[in-house]
C-alpha cells in the first residue's frame, strides 16, 4: 500500500521528518561502526561498547570514583546554570546599552574584538586559579555564552525599526521610556536567539571548564576516563553531554519560537 506524500498534511510532514531523523541516526551508527573496523584502534570503541558503557553508567554509576552518574550531571548542570545566569545578568543590560549608545559601542568594540576570539579553554586555568574551583568553571561557561548573547543583543538593538522610535517620540516618550517601551521589547526575540546560540556554545565549554576540578562534573569524568584509557566510558560521557546540550537548546529554541511568534516578530 503506497500513500502519496502530502506536503500540506501535518501528519505526513511529521512522519516524514521522524523517518528521516531515524534513518539519519541509524546511518550514523553504521558509519561509526565501519570506521572503528577500518581504523582498528582500541582508543576508538564500537557503538555497542559505548552504549554498553553508557547503560552501566546510568544503572550502576562510576565504580572507580564511587559516584552515581547523576551526581556528575548535577555538578555539571550547576556549573552550567551558574555560567548561564552570570552571562544573562551581564550580557543583557550591556548588550542593550552598547546597542543603543553608539559611542559606547565604538569605544568598546576593540575590547570585544580582542577578547572574543580567545577560546574558552584558554581561560580555564586562569579562572580556576584566580576564582577557585567553584566560580572558575562557571566563568568558563560564562565566557562561552556571554559573547554570542552579547553580539546578538547588540545586533538586535541596531535592527530596531527607526520608525518605532520616531513614532514613540511624537507620542511623548522620554529617553527612558523609549528604552523600556520600545528598545527592550523589540530586542526580546534577539535576546532569546542569543540565548539559544549561547547555550550551544556553553555546553562546548563544559569539558574545558571542569578539566581542573577535583570533583568536577561530567566533563571531569570524561577527562579521567580518557586518562585511564577507558574509552568506552569517555564516549558515553560525550553522549551524555550531547543529550544535555540538545535538551537545553531544544527548550531554548522552543521558547524563542513561541515568544517571537506571540510578539508578532518571527520574521
Amino acid at each position: 500500500m503506497l500513500i502519496e506524500y502530502d506536503e500540506n498534511n501535518r501528519k505526513h510532514r511529521l512522519i516524514r521528518s521522524t523517518v528521516i531523523t531515524i534513518l539519519s541516526l541509524a546511518t550514523f551508527l553504521v558509519l561509526w561502526w565501519i570506521a572503528t573496523i577500518v581504523m582498528n584502534d582500541r582508543n576508538f570503541p564500537t557503538p555497542d561498547k559505548v552504549f554498553g558503557a553508557l547503560w552501566n553508567l546510568l544503572l550502576y554509576g562510576d565504580p572507580i570514583g564511587g559516584h552515581s552518574i547523576w551526581e556528575y550531571i548535577a555538578v555539571s548542570l550547576n556549573t552550567f546554570l551558574n555560567g548561564f545566569g552570570l552571562a544573562l545578568v551581564f550580557a543583557v543590560p550591556l548588550g542593550l546599552l552598547l546597542g543603543y549608545v553608539k559611542f559606547l559601542r565604538e569605544f568598546t568594540a576593540p575590547w570585544i574584538e580582542v577578547v572574543r576570539p580567545i577560546a574558552p579553554i584558554a581561560w580555564a586555568p586562569i579562572f580556576v586559579l584566580s576564582f577557585g574551583s567553584q566560580l572558575g568553571p562557571a566563568l568558563v561557561v560564562f565566557i562561552g555564552i556571554f559573547f554570542p548573547l552579547l553580539t546578538n543583543i547588540i545586533f538586535g538593538v541596531q535592527r530596531i525599526d527607526k520608525n518605532w522610535l520616531d513614532a514613540s517620540k511624537t507620542l511623548g516618550a522620554s529617553q527612558g521610556q523609549l528604552f523600556t517601551k520600545v528598545v527592550l521589547p523589540a530586542t526580546v526575540p534577539y535576546i532569546l536567539n542569543g540565548i539559544k546560540v549561547g547555550l550551544g556554545v556553553g555546553w562546548m565549554c563544559i569539558v574545558a571548564a571542569e578539566i581542573y576540578n577535583k570533583f568536577g562534573g561530567i566533563g571531569q569524568y570524561l577527562v579521567d576516563m580518557v586518562n585511564g584509557g577507558l574509552m568506552s566510558n569517555a564516549f558515553a560521557a560525550i553522549i551524555i553531554i550531547a543529550v544535555l546540550g540538545l535538551m537545553t537548546t531544544g527548550v531554548a529554541e522552543y521558547i524563542s519560537k513561541v515568544v517571537s511568534r506571540r510578539m508578532g516578530m518571527d520574521a
Binding site: 520616531d166 507620542l171 511623548g172 521589547p185
Partner: protein, 287 residues
C-alpha cells in the same frame, strides 16, 4: 461604517483642567477655530555631505489655521516629507522657527502627533495597546485608557480587532490604528506623512472617507503630505503646492466645497487640472 459608530470624544474639555501630555490641544483652547495656530518661519534645510551641499527646503513661510486640514503636494523628491519631519521635531532644520501659538517647537513631543506612511506600529502590542501607547507614556490611568481607546476603536471601525496583533491586519486596518494612535492623544497638530501611500487605490478611497467622517465629529488641525492631487482635493481645506527642490511655495489653493466632497465635481476638476499642469512642468524641468 454606520453613522452611529462615529460618535467620538463626546465630552467637552475645560481649558482650566489639568493640561497633560495627552491633551496638548487644550494649551491652545483660546485660539479660535480658523485663526493661525502653527507658524512656520524662514524654514531652511540644507543637507551637507563631504563635498557638496544640497538645499532641500529654501526659506519657507506658511501658517496653518486651527481646525483646518492643509495638504502639501509637490513634485517627487521636493522635500515634502522633510518639511513635515522638521515640524515634528524629528529632524532639526538648518534654520527657521516652528511656532505653535506662542510656543517654539524644538524637539519632538506629543503636541505634534504623527501618522507614518509605513504605519510604524508596534508588532508586540495588540491593536488596543498600540492605540493606548501615548496614553500609557503620559501616565493616564488604566481604566481611563481603556475607556478612551474603546471610543477610538469604535470610531475607526477596529472594535473586532481590538485584541489582534498588528501582523494579522490588512494595510488599511493598520493605518486606521496609526490614525487612532495619533488622534487619541489630542495633539495640537497632527502630521500625516503620505499616510495612504502604501495602500491600494480602493483602500485609499475608503480610508479618505473614514478620515473625513472622523474629522467631522472631532475636528483636528492636520498637515497632510501626499503626492496624490486627488487625495488632497478630497480632504483639504487648503493645498500648499511646492516647487521642485529646493522646496519653495508655488501657490496656496483654497479648496471649495463641503465635506464629503464629490470627487467628480467641476470645481475640483478645474483645480486638479491647474495643480497637475504645474507639477507636470516642474517634473519635466527636472528630467
Amino acid at each position: 461604517m454606520s453613522k452611529q459608530e462615529m460618535v467620538i470624544e463626546g465630552e467637552k474639555y475645560n481649558s482650566k483642567d489639568r493640561i497633560r501630555a495627552d491633551h496638548t490641544d487644550l494649551l491652545y483652547a483660546d485660539i479660535p477655530e480658523g485663526e493661525p495656530l502653527l507658524k512656520i518661519e524662514n524654514l531652511n534645510v540644507i543637507y551637507r555631505t563631504d563635498d557638496k551641499e544640497t538645499v532641500a527646503v529654501d526659506n519657507l513661510n506658511f501658517e496653518i489655521n486651527k481646525g483646518e486640514l492643509v495638504s502639501i503636494v509637490g513634485p517627487s523628491g521636493c522635500g515634502k516629507s522633510t518639511i513635515l519631519r522638521c515640524i515634528s521635531g524629528l529632524l532639526q532644520p538648518t534654520s527657521g522657527t516652528i511656532m505653535i501659538g506662542d510656543n517654539k517647537c524644538t524637539t519632538a513631543g506629543s503636541d505634534r502627533g504623527m501618522v507614518f506612511q509605513d504605519f510604524a506600529l508596534f508588532p508586540w502590542r495588540t491593536v488596543r495597546k498600540n492605540i493606548e501607547f501615548g496614553l500609557e507614556i503620559a501616565g493616564v490611568p488604566k481604566e481611563e485608557r481603556k475607556e478612551r481607546s474603546e471610543r477610538y476603536l469604535k470610531a475607526m471601525g477596529l472594535s473586532e480587532f481590538a485584541d489582534s496583533r498588528i501582523h494579522e491586519l490588512s494595510g488599511g486596518m493598520k493605518q486606521r490604528v496609526g490614525i487612532a494612535r495619533a488622534m487619541i492623544m489630542h495633539p495640537a497638530v497632527i502630521l500625516m506623512d503620505e499616510p495612504f501611500g502604501a495602500l491600494d487605490a480602493q483602500t485609499r478611497n475608503i480610508l479618505q472617507e473614514s478620515l473625513v467622517n472622523v474629522l467631522q465629529k472631532s475636528p483636528r488641525t492636520i498637515i497632510f503630505v501626499t503626492h496624490s492631487v486627488d487625495e488632497a482635493l478630497v480632504l483639504s481645506d487648503r493645498i500648499i503646492v511646492l516647487s521642485k527642490r529646493p522646496a519653495t511655495i508655488h501657490k496656496i489653493f483654497k479648496v471649495p466645497g463641503e465635506h464629503p466632497r464629490d470627487r467628480a465635481s467641476p470645481e475640483l476638476a478645474a483645480l486638479r487640472k491647474e495643480i497637475l499642469t504645474y507639477l507636470q512642468s516642474q517634473n519635466t524641468m527636472n528630467s
